[in-house]
Amino acid sequence: MSIFGKILTIGALLAVTACTNATKYDNAGAGGAGGAGVSGSASDPTSAAFFQQSIGDRVLFVVDQSSLTDQSRSVLQGQAEWLLTNTDYSAIIEGHADEQGTREYNLGLGEKRANAVREFLVSRGVAGNRLKVVSYGKERPIEICSDESCYAKNRRAVTVLSGGLTG
C-alpha cells in the first residue's frame, strides 16, 4: 500500500524502534531518554554525549506553564555557550507535556515550551537557523506513572543535537 512507503529520512527521528536505521539522527525522538546511542564519548567535550550528560540537554516546566525557571535558564546558558563553541551541531528542541491535558492543547503547550527554549538560546547568540522546534504534546512520556513524580519529568523541553563531526 502506497501509504506505507516514502518515509523521509527524518522520519527515523520519530521511529523510536527503528534505531537500526543508522542516520545521524538515530538517538532522537525518544525524548532524550538515557544516554545510549548518542555519538561520541562523554569525556570528549565536543561530543553530543558530553552535551547531554555534562551540560544538560533538558529543562523542566511547572504544570500548564511554558516560562523558564531560574534553574532552567542556568542550564540553557550552558547549552548556549556549548552551541556557540560547537558550531557543527544543529538542534531540534522537543517540547513535551504530561498526560493531564487534552491532546490538542498539549501539542500547543509543548510548542510553547520548545519555543521558550529556542528564544532563550537565540537571545544568547545561537543562530536561529540551527534550532528547530517540535512538539510531541503528551505523545512521548519518558516516565509512565500517573503521579506528580513522573509528570514533573515529562513536562520538559529537550535539546536534541544533530550533525557534528562524530556523526
Binding site: 511554558s66 490538542e104 492543547y105 501539542l107 510548542e111
Partner: protein
C-alpha cells in the same frame, strides 16, 4: 463499495396507516422518547430471518443477531430470547400471531426473510407493534453482496430504531480511530477504521510514525489526520477507499494539527503553531489557500464547524485557562460559552446543531459533557481518570470518546454514552484505541 438497493414492498402489503392506534393493553403507542430518558427498555423479539433457500440459512441467523445487538446496544431496547418464543416464524408471508408475542411481552416484533442468489443477498423485513396488533411502517427490502450482510443488518436495525424513536438511526456507520499498541513510553499508533460496533477493522497506516485524531469528511469518503512523518506534526487528507494520502500543509518552521472539515467538504479548519503561538486557520482543500482566523498570543485549537458551516466552536486559554468559544467562520469576535469551574476543551458541534460536546477537566478528573450553544444546561455524562475527545453519532444522540486508565500500565480504549448520560459501554477494538471519529450514515 457495497450498494444497497432499497425498495418498499408495496405489492406485498396493504397500505398500513403510519399512525399507531392506541393499544388495547395498558401500553400506549410503540414509541420511545430518547430525550426523556428511558428507564425501562422496550422488549422486542427478532426471530432468525426465514431463509428462502439453504444458502441463506446461516445469514438468516446472523442477520437477526446483529439487529438484536444493535438495538440492545442502545440501552433503549431489550431482546426477548428465542427460548421464550411460543410460535417461531417459519413463513414470512403468514399472518403474525399477535397473541403469542403479546403473551411473552414482546412489544415490538421484527420478522424477516433472506434469499441468497450467487453472491447476492436479499433481505426483506417487517416491524410489528404487537400490542396494537398492526404493522409499524411498511415492509422493506435490501439487496447487496453477501459480504456486506452486516451492513444490511445495520440498515434493518436503523429502520426499526427510526420508526420507534422518531430519530435517525446510526448503526450503518463507521468509526475512524487510532489503534494503539505498546507501553506508554513506546506507544505505537496506527490509523484504523471499523464498523461502529467494532466489526471489520481495517488499518490505514503502519506504526512507523505518530498519527493522531482522524476526522471524517461530511460524506465519509476522506479522513483528515495529523502525522509526524516529516518529523513535525502536519495535517494530511486521506482517501479512505484508495488509502491514498497527501499533505495539506507543509510550511517549514510550523506545525499543523487538529484539522476538521467544513460541512461542504471543501474547506478545512485547523491549528497552526509557530513561534510559540497556536492559532486557527482555514484552508481550501484543493486551492491550499490559507486564511488566518485568530491572532491571540494564547493557544487556540480543537475547532469544529456548526452544521450550517457559519460558525466555529473552539477552545482557547486566552482567559488564563482552557475555555470554549464560538466565532463566525471568517474569524472575528468570539464569544465565550463555557463558564463553569474547571477547564473545557475539544468542543464538537452536534450534527443536529443543538449541543456542543466537550472534555472537561475539574479537580483532577476528566469528563465528557454537553452544553447548549449559549453554554447553558451543561451536563456531564462521564467521569474518570482521563476521558477525552468526544465524537457524535450521526443522529446526535450518542457520543463516543477515548478513556485512558491510570498508571504505568495505562491503556486507552473507546466508550460510548448517550446524551442523557445513560448506557455507558465499551466499544470493542482489537488493541488499545483512541481519538474516535464517527462517520455520517453510509449511503
Amino acid at each position: 463499495m457495497i450498494r444497497l438497493l432499497c425498495c418498499i414492498l408495496a405489492a406485498l402489503v396493504a397500505a398500513v396507516p403510519l399512525v399507531i392506534q392506541p393499544a388495547l393493553a395498558q401500553q400506549g403507542p410503540l414509541r420511545i422518547e430518547i430525550t426523556e430518558g428511558v428507564i425501562e427498555p422496550l422488549p422486542f423479539a427478532v426471530p432468525g430471518f426465514v431463509p428462502d433457500n439453504t444458502a441463506a440459512t446461516d445469514y438468516g441467523k446472523q442477520l437477526s443477531q446483529v439487529i438484536a445487538a444493535d438495538l440492545s446496544g442502545t440501552g433503549l431496547f431489550r431482546e426477548i430470547p428465542a427460548s421464550a418464543f411460543i410460535s417461531p416464524i417459519t413463513d414470512f408471508a403468514a399472518p403474525v400471531k399477535y397473541a403469542d408475542w403479546k403473551a411473552i411481552n414482546a412489544q415490538a416484533l421484527i420478522a424477516g426473510a433472506v434469499t441468497v442468489s450467487g453472491s447476492k443477498l436479499t433481505v426483506r423485513f417487517r416491524v410489528y407493534d404487537v400490542f396494537s396488533g398492526a404493522e409499524l411502517g411498511n415492509g422493506l427490502q435490501f439487496t447487496g453482496n453477501t459480504d456486506g450482510w452486516r451492513r444490511m443488518a445495520h440498515k434493518v436495525a436503523d429502520a426499526v430504531y427510526s420508526r420507534i424513536t422518531g430519530e435517525g438511526g446510526y448503526f450503518d456507520s463507521r468509526v475512524a480511530f487510532v489503534s494503539e499498541a505498546g507501553p506508554k513510553n513506546d506507544r505505537r499508533k496506527r490509523l484504523a477504521i471499523m464498523d461502529y460496533d467494532g466489526a471489520n477493522v481495517q488499518y490505514l497506516s503502519d506504526s512507523s510514525t505518530i498519527v493522531l485524531a482522524p476526522r471524517f469528511s461530511p460524506t465519509g469518503d476522506r479522513l483528515l489526520y495529523t502525522s509526524y512523518e516529516t518529523g513535525f506534526p502536519r495535517i494530511y487528507v486521506l482517501d479512505v477507499g484508495k488509502v491514498k494520502r497527501r499533505a495539506l500543509d507543509n510550511t517549514e518552521g510550523t506545525m499543523s494539527f487538529a484539522p476538521r472539515f467544513a460541512p461542504d467538504g471543501k474547506t478545512v479548519v485547523f491549528s497552526l503553531a509557530q513561534g510559540g503561538n497556536t492559532d486557527l486557520y482555514t484552508m481550501g482543500v484543493s486551492s491550499g489557500k490559507r486564511t488566518r482566523l485568530t491572532s491571540a498570543p494564547s493557544i487556540e485549537t480543537a475547532p469544529s464547524f456548526s452544521p450550517d458551516g457559519r460558525q466555529i466552536v473552539f477552545e482557547s486559554d486566552r482567559s488564563g485557562s482552557q475555555q470554549l468559544y464560538i466565532m463566525p467562520t471568517g474569524g472575528g469576535e468570539a464569544r465565550r460559552i463555557s463558564f463553569g469551574k474547571g477547564r473545557y476543551g475539544t468542543p464538537v458541534w452536534s450534527p443536529r446543531g443543538d449541543l456542543i460536546a466537550f472534555t472537561k477537566q475539574s479537580k483532577g478528573r476528566f469528563h465528557i459533557g454537553v452544553m447548549r450553544l449559549d453554554g447553558s444546561q451543561e451536563r456531564l455524562l462521564t467521569a474518570s481518570f482521563l476521558d477525552e475527545g468526544p465524537t457524535w453519532a450521526p443522529n446526535g444522540r450518542v457520543i463516543m470518546f477515548t478513556r485512558e486508565t491510570q498508571g504505568a500500565s495505562g491503556r486507552a480504549s473507546l466508550y460510548s454514552v448517550d446524551i442523557t448520560g445513560r448506557n455507558l459501554r465499551p466499544v470493542r477494538t482489537p488493541d488499545g484505541a483512541s481519538d474516535p471519529s464517527w462517520s455520517p450514515l453510509q449511503q
